[in-house]
Amino acid sequence: MKHLVSVSDLSREAAIAILDTSLEMSEVNDRDIKKLPTLRGKTVVNLFFEDSTRTRISFEVAAKRLSADVINFAAKGSSVSKGESLKDTAQTLEAIGADAVVIRHHASGAAHMLANSGWVKGSVINAGDGTHEHPTQALLDAFTLRSAIHADARGKGLDGVAVAIVGDIAHSRVARSNLVLLKKLGAKVYLVGPPTLLPSALISQADGYSYSLDDAIATFKLDAVMMLRVQLERMTAGFFPSEREYARIWGLNADRLALLGSNTFVMHPGPMNRGLEIDAAAADSKNSLVLKQVANGVSVRMAVLYHLLSGGENE
């Protein structure tokens, strides 16, 4: 595997291999000496066209724990604003000699373009492109859920596990990547949100959908609910009338948490809008995997870096 642009690039086997490697990486992250020599001499560039301190730090720590050199490159703008073009930036990085480029970009398809342009020789890892995909987030979500469900998760998928993704599906790269990856791992995926934010094309790929979170809880025997962050600009664009109405119909509150029962896990890719899509009772409940998701981010990204950057040409 050369690039990770989309979770569609991964077979079920490859995804499970990454999750298994992540398990070993998480053990490294638990010990005193949290460092491996594996990627010594390799250079990883974090190319961020969009601010995301969390994701950048997660990739940076992952690369450093594998002994790679890390360069953080915060690029502003695009050819829209006549700022720095993707091509020029990519060629600069190529001149530096990047073995891997971790790219975060506000334009859907930017990672795809970088991987297929011939502008860079190294691996391209998509750290979020517009409203398209965020494959490492989906991998860490799958990893977190798998570990929560299986005591010995090694080699296992998520067969038969029922997951509802709730919120702004239309604009969520996390939802897109999770929909494809979770299904690939055997999970049943349900989409829940306001009709204005549920594209029919994605509904047709899911195992079911609902415009009401209460109906979804009553209908689908959910093992996990994945709450998506609500972007407030969606409200001003008329996708839903108000924060209050959104929270009332699609927010995960104490009542709904009780309806879900004690065997359903609560997930959120962060950062959370507490009181909007999720309230404190749910976010901090004992079934919440939110903190584990954050912690697992480093392990999963270490695994991804390892799988992309090790291995000979004749693979």
């Binding site: 829209v80 859907s108 373009m113 897109r176």
Partner: protein
């Protein structure tokens, strides 16, 4: 002036004849021979093609195209007339600018360059441009369009339609409801949902067309709809024509052949306005072209420099080249598919667009006494499209696709602008 005979050319009706040209005019169609004899056996001779929708980019964007380079591409594509869209810099919204474009076209001398005037000042959509002055200028503008932008204000559209009646003008509408397409990147559907690119709903086009045919009916004016792209638009035009509304419609070669699936490459060469739609839309557009609901094929030839296309999809410019491939796509859709014939081909590529524009010496049947604007093509060849041809730009949407037919000669006012598939000058 030269004197020559195209020997044994096949005409649109399938008959074979010699075509004699003297002093820029067709002298005879028959058995005779005069002057130089040019073998045209197996070649189809048709009225020179007329493009109602060309972006020549000059003045203002000469790095993309000039009137000269665009004229070359047009001649190589079998065109003897092109209509230069108004979205130049400065905008073609005054008599001065349209006259300048016309004289640049005359200087190039390869095809007739007929300017289109802007409907509103600076394409701003707020005040009518001086439509009468452009109509009465040396450029004799008959078509007005804010193409690239929609005349979305219904009142302004109504006034424009009414106003151009005084000189038998026509408003060519770029049908795109602006609020429904804010930041839109590609056709709204399954592919856009998967790719995470902001959708461009079909209804954004259809709602404007529906409104405008009703306005055209109310005003009794001529309306032309640019680049139809959806099956729903076809239905509305069909309904309007049945009601006797004076509406005409065009379709581009790319909307007849390509679909939104191409966006999966994230290659911005496939980014165009209106966007590539679905297979079902392509099918409806093809049927409408055959049955007469759609009147013409127009290229919407839209050159862009490399840097406008070699970037992220959402940052890239909208538009595709089309002049040198239009006839091939039309042949594929009308002839090779078995759906229609060369007479229909000739109508959609030449006769109808010239009629909409009221161009006098263009789009005339190949008959004695008519000005010799002739395209001669070899329909039995195929070629794999590569690069931008004579255009200054290379945003070629048909790259790597095999298309039928080759333009062999283009004769503009009795003189070869293209001979043996090469530019005469």
């Amino acid at each position: 002036m030269s004197e020559f005979t195209l020997v044994n050319a096949t005409l649109a009706d399938g008959s074979v004849a010699n075509i004699g040209v003297t002093d820029g005019v067709i002298k005879f169609i028959g058995d005779q021979k005069i002057g130089e004899q040019i073998d045209a056996k197996g070649l189809v001779a048709l009225p020179g093609f007329v493009d109602l929708h060309t972006h020549l980019r000059e003045p203002g964007f000469e790095q993309s195209e000039t009137v000269l380079s665009g004229s070359r591409a047009a001649a190589l594509g079998g065109f003897t007339a092109v209509h230069a869209m108004a979205n130049t810099m400065p905008v073609a919204d005054t008599a001065g600018v349209v006259e300048q474009i016309k004289s640049l076209g005359d200087e190039a001398g390869l095809v007739q360059v007929q300017p289109i005037g802007a409907v509103t000042v600076g394409l701003g959509g707020e005040r009518l441009a001086e439509l009468g002055a452009m109509a009465n200028s040396r450029a004799k503008v008959t078509i007005f369009s804010d193409d690239g932008k929609c005349v979305s204000d219904p009142l302004l559209m109504r006034r424009a339609l009414a106003y151009v009646k005084s000189f038998d003008g026509v408003i060519a509408q770029h049908a795109q409801e602006p609020r429904l397409t804010e930041n839109s990147q590609m056709h709204e559907g399954n592919v856009s949902a998967e790719l995470g690119l902001a959708g461009w709903p079909s209804v954004a086009e259809e709602s404007i067309i529906a409104r405008d045919v009703l306005l055209a009916e109310a005003t009794g004016s001529r309306l032309h709809i640019c680049h139809l792209s959806t099956a729903g638009s076809v239905e509305i035009i069909r309904w309007a024509k049945q009601r006797g509304i004076k509406v005409t419609a065009e379709v581009t070669p790319h909307h007849l052949l390509l679909t939104d699936e191409l966006a999966r490459t994230y290659n911005p060469v496939y980014k165009v306005n209106p966007p590539l739609r679905t297979d079902a839309d392509v099918k409806a557009l093809r049927e409408a072209l055959v049955d007469g609901t759609i009147d013409i094929v127009a290229t919407d030839h839209a050159p862009h420099p490399v840097e406008s296309k070699e970037c992220e999809w959402s940052a890239a410019a909208f538009g595709m080249l089309g002049l040198e491939t239009a006839a091939s796509v039309a042949q594929l859709v009308l002839i090779d598919s078995g759906a229609s014939n060369w007479q229909r081909f000739s109508e959609v590529m030449s006769v109808n667009p010239a009629a909409i524009s009221r161009l006098e010496s263009q789009g005339q049947k190949l008959e004695v006494g008519n000005v010799a604007n002739i395209a001669v093509i070899n329909p039995r060849t195929t070629r794999v499209i590569s690069g931008g041809g004579a255009s200054k730009s290379s945003n070629q949407p048909f790259e790597g696709i095999e298309l039928p037919g080759t333009v062999i000669h283009t004769i503009y006012r009795g003189t070869f602008s293209v001979r043996d598939s090469k530019l005469a000058k």
